[in-house]
């Protein structure tokens, strides 16, 4: 039995008279003890999917189950054993850290003591501030508290909706380390993010765009499926260079990536020659060109373009 099964879920919202489609027939499944990443830009339908799986939103059609329970019929059972961390910080800002945790333990009919082992590692980091009000915590600490609250009733499946949005790089790294330790304890984790670099930290990822699931695979397979020849190029005049490359008809794609532009061409074999031709036509200094291995972001960019 799979931990999460999603079959052909469709969800539309009514905005005035127009109908906006949030999810257009999504299907995938998640194994027990797996970290499954839903990667996609803002507005792709990630949150709608999470709300359907956590039984607070009804889908228009399709079937979904969590831990073998139907999200429509057995919603009560699901609510007892999943942890949900909404994208927006939604603990009580006027209650202290400890009061928040106690409260969420109580509404799930448990106590902090009972499941302290599970949250110990995370909670111990914010325990020195346990008498501080949750609203006054820093972003990273809020995130840790929210995760503690989502974990306090020992859920079998954990839903994390964009847990690292707006959190600094160090806290993000820490957060993912925590998720990996939770995975070891057998908790299934469905996590969504808009940061593509986080995709490599998942066991499997699903790329979602405009309510459509583009590909479901392990991060390695996603990368290995990238077939184009990818070139990195750099010059002192980065912006005019990009303009020139994008304007060239032989170019398939060009994205700025840190210090380099990543470029692919319609005709793989002549890539280098094409690039050199573009540079000759312009006035660029300190030009550097070399072929590179695609990373996961390149793959998603390519997938989204298709």
């Amino acid at each position: 039995m799979k931990a999460i099964v999603v079959e052909d879920i469709v969800k539309k919202y009514r905005v005035g008279k127009a109908e906006v489609s949030a999810l257009e027939g999504i299907s995938f499944s998640v194994d027990h003890g797996e970290i499954f990443g839903i990667i996609g830009p803002d507005g792709a339908g990630k949150t709608s999917l999470f709300r359907i799986l956590t039984t607070v939103l009804l889908a228009d059609s399709g079937f979904a189950s969590v831990d073998g329970f139907d999200v429509v019929k057995d919603y009560k059972k699901i609510r007892n054993q999943v942890g949900y961390m909404p994208g927006r910080f939604s603990l009580y800002p006027d209650l202290t850290v400890q009061e928040n945790l106690e409260f969420f333990a109580a509404i799930f009919n448990t106590t902090i003591k009972e499941n302290y082992d599970l949250v110990k590692e995370i909670y111990s980091q914010i325990e020195p501030f346990k008498n501080r009000r949750a609203g006054q915590l820093s972003g990273g600490m809020k995130q840790k508290l929210a995760l503690s609250c989502a974990l306090i009733h020992k859920p079998s499946v954990l839903f994390l909706d964009e847990p690292t949005t707006g959190v600094d790089a160090v806290s993000r790294k820490e957060f993912w380390e925590m998720l990996h330790r939770l995975k070891v304890q057998g908790i299934t984790i469905l996590v969504s993010t808009a940061y593509m670099d986080e995709a490599t930290l998942c066991d499997r990822v699903g790329l979602i765009q405009k309510g459509v699931l583009l590909s479901v695979n392990t991060p390695k397979r996603v990368i290995s499926e990238f077939k184009d020849a990818l070139w990195a190029i750099r010059a002192k005049e980065m912006y005019p260079l990009m303009e020139a490359i994008k304007a060239d008809p032989s170019v398939l794609s060009c994205y700025p990536f840190g210090q380099y532009h990543h470029v692919t061409f319609h005709n793989k074999a002549e890539s280098k020659a094409q690039l050199e031709r573009i540079i000759k036509n312009g006035n660029y200094t300190d030009v550097e060109i070399f072929p590179i291995q695609a990373n996961i972001e390149d793959c998603f960019m390519a997938l989204m373009k298709e």
């Binding site: 939103l57 919603y75 999943v82 006027d94 209650l95 106690e102 109580a106 509404i107």
Partner: protein, 373 residues
Amino acid sequence: MRTLKFLLRKELLQIFRDPAIFRILFIMPMVQLLILPLAADYEIKNINLGVVDHDHSTYSRKMIDKITSSGYFRLRDYSATYTQALHAIEQDKTDLILEIPSQFERNLVKESESDLLISVNAINGVKAGLGAAYLQGIIHDYNQEIRMEWIQNLRFNPLPIIDVTSTNWYNPNMNYRVFMVPGILVMLVTMIGSSFASNNIVREKEMGTIEQINVSPIKKTQFIIGKLVPFWILAITVLTLGLILARLVYGIIPLGHYSTIYFFASIYLVAILGLGLLLSTYAQTQQQSMLVSFFVTMIFNLLSGLYTPIESMPQWAQVITWFNPVSYFIQVMRMVMLKGSSLADIEHHILAMLGFAIFFNGWAILNYRKRSG
């Protein structure tokens, strides 16, 4: 049960942690209770009188003396012509004109009959109506006095006269405060109960905390009771403070039992809080819930019989008051405070209130959805 205990604890912690809310909750109604009853005084004094005396006789002067010495009127204008007197009304110097025709005394003596003209500025209807009535009353008295002077040597009165003496039951001195303060207290408790409770749930919606609650196994009823009880306690506390204030400041001591008031208030508050919760299940933002509860309590208060007697409202408005919980509580308050009514006397009110409580709360629970479509 344990879950409920924690829900209540959390709610109370939140309320007591916000000092501003706490102050608003207790100080504001107290200040209102101290100010409003003084302002809501129906007794009209200091009516500005303008006199046009064409007669300049003993009788006319005597009558004017009698009017001004009554305490209700102030002689502000003494004009030669009616046009001038009207001008004074236009300038808002006077509220009333009393015109005494020439030959007033002569006609009265010779023909036993004379006319007077009273013109009233009716912009303020209450003042105009009461002013004219007072003036007529005084003139009537004066008329009697003159008759007595003429016919005092007769043994029997040739004209039969009905002499009316009235007693004011339940409020012998016609003290309007005894009448207004309990009503205003009801209004304040209602405002706190309905708008405060509805805002609270909507706040959870706005903060997104309700999302976490919805994903938890908490039952709808538990959640709603968890919201009801803390505000019920708060409103009862405000009521208690108000009753203490009424006793200490206005010297209002109920003829009936405090327990009767509390018994009714506890059912009443369940109904009013239920209404607040119902509003909150529809509102998405605190502005929406504020405006709607403002609208509802405004109608409830104005149609409650607090300011104007229900019996003098048009029939359709009277029908609305049957569905207005506030009017029931105001009636009960006045009955217990002034008449000393007991539980048996307000049986009908209690049943109606139970109906309101079940209706509003039932609707609120039905309409509160943990999941959306």
